[in-house]
């Protein structure tokens, strides 16, 4: 009687959903994350097609129309200190700002994740060398490090990207290392070894499969920080050069108008705020959607 197989009714009737469709389903239920995702989508569309969508030429200045308030006829969001249309500049600015926000994180993700996974998996002296070097970078406040590196390398977009990448490698590497060393001691890694997987196969299948998700989520949260830092660099004159529209730089040049047109001057800051909040909420939503409990 005992040896009869389990009754078939125990099996669930519905098709078991895959991991990613489950993530998508949970993400779709999360209203805040969906809203943040929509905002990010709009920003990405602006970044890609902004120059073709603007109502006016973002570079066209006019000494007569300087610092118009919000709601002026023809300039819905006013004009900046050189009389350029703020709405157009903000739309076009999305491209550079997002580029400055995302590119360093992608580069740092590639470098940091590789170093971290290597350190976490190999352990021993390899871990010590990589992680202690990372700790040295970690000791500096990120803003200061970005400014110092940019200052040393010289102004310009390329150098700003390079210094921001270097700023984000240590935290990503740390997360990658800690997640990897946790995974390495899990039973399924030993089970894989017991079934004949070599180190390469274990990294490719079990480590990457379990580690990339958390690192990816963490990295999306860094995009907001990167945007703010990039804006800061531009503000200090170390990033994007005028007359290119970039939100940080616009905030910098408009600060002289803070007493005459405070609302217009605050607009680039508002954009930075909205964008970084959206990325933060998006990564929060991703994190909870990807969290498989049990």
């Amino acid at each position: 009687m005992i040896s009869t197989p389990l009754p078939l009714s125990i099996a669930p009737v519905e098709q078991s959903p895959g991991y990613w469709s489950g993530v998508l389903r949970r993400f779709a239920k999360d209203r805040v994350a969906m809203f943040a995702g929509a905002v990010v989508l709009i920003l990405v569309i602006l970044a890609l097609f902004g120059p073709w969508l603007t109502p006016a030429d973002p570079y066209q200045s006019s000494m007569l129309k300087r610092l118009r308030p919000i709601g002026t006829d023809g300039f819905p969001l006013g004009t900046d200190e050189l009389g350029r249309d703020m709405l157009s500049r903000l739309m076009v600015g999305a491209r550079l700002s997002l580029f400055m926000g995302i590119t360093p994180v992608i580069c740092a993700f590639a470098i940091g994740a590789t170093l971290g996974i290597l350190a976490g998996f190999v352990g021993g002296w390899v871990n010590s060398i990589i992680m202690r070097t990372i700790d040295v970078f970690y000791a500096f406040p990120s803003v200061l490090l970005a400014i110092a590196l940019s200052g040393a390398l010289g102004a310009g977009i390329g150098n700003a990207l390079l210094s921001l990448t270097l700023v984000f490698v240590p935290p990503i590497c740390r997360v990658a290392e800690s997640v990897t060393s946790q995974i390495r001691s899990r039973d399924f890694v030993e089970a894989a070894r017991a079934s004949g997987a070599n180190a390469f196969a274990i990294i490719r299948v079990h480590v990457l499969g379990n580690v990339l998700g958390p690192i990816f989520v963490y990295s999306t949260s860094l995009i907001a920080v990167s945007m703010i830092l990039a804006s800061g660099l531009s503000f200090l004159g170390l990033g994007v050069k005028p007359p290119e529209p970039e939100w940080g730089l616009m905030l910098n040049t408009l600060r002289t108008a803070i007493y005459t047109q405070p609302w217009v001057a605050a607009l680039p800051g508002l954009m930075i705020f909205i964008t970084s909040m959206s990325f933060n909420m998006l990564s929060d939503g991703l994190r909870s959607a990807m969290d498989v409990k049990q």
Binding site: I2, G18, D187, F188, E190, A191, R193, S195, N198
Partner: protein
Amino acid sequence: MSPASSATSAVTIENLRVTFAGGAAPVRAVNNVSLRVTRGETVALIGESGSGKSVTLRSLLRLHPAKKTQMSGQIEVGGRDVMAMNASELAAFRGRVASMIFQEPLLALDPVYSVGDQIIESIQRHMKVSRSEAHARALKLFEQVRIPSPERRLAAYPHEMSGGMRQRVMIALALACEPELLLADEPTTALDATVQIQILLLLRELQSRLGLSIIFVTHDIGAAVEVADRIAVMYAGEIVEEADVRTLMRAPRHPYTQALLQSRAHGSLAKGTRLATIGGAPPDLANLPPGCAFAPRCVHVEPACREGSIAIAALGPTHQARCRRTHEIVWQHTAAAKA
């Protein structure tokens, strides 16, 4: 497909010693263990925690970290010298010739892949087959381990399955590449009592159908009796008694085995009856006393037990015990129950 070229002996372990050198003092986890398993035989290693049974099992796949472990002795599985294998030979050996079932299937399965993907991955690691062939084989394995609606279950993730189903998946995974030897490390400890017996019966059925040799580690004598042909009792890294199941249960000759059997609940005990216990604790493996390791807890101990090494005494064609006084100690069930 399984190579049947080797002789009747599937596993031969000779004088295996395993010492872990990581900590302050080296821990002698396995001391001079010799064990033979013939083809198609199921041998259970029983003993309490820290008796070296799992370490012996893992040694067969050389799973211990090489840097911190000293191993000596000989291990042969299916005529292959395991101790002499290099890394790539080991990778080809593990899972293909000998594979392992773990205690806690939820932890031993990767949470981010479906169970089908994990089995297919394992099949393709050792066999040169296409993905669809591997899928077909995985499906067949699921039918073999009696998983209901196997096609659907292949797409499920470990956390979506019950404990018993997961352990069936684990067994299917272990059988994926038609191994000759199955190593089971407490495969039923993490399961409910009703599911335990199903898994044990499944193991026995697979063993007779596929002609597997099984080494089964457990601390549950009942489980060992259920599946094993032969039982080896381990204490402090040594095999203290080895016999076929019937002999061991009816006439155990080592005081430790006798004490183990006494400490079980057998028959119908009156309410309030206390179970017999073994006084004291197992010895510190980093600091083993000379002589018999069980001497400090043994009721039959005499001064000579604490000196020198104790030889194995052959008590029959399939029965041996590592005790000086086997000829004097006779198992008296009634007397033991009173004690």
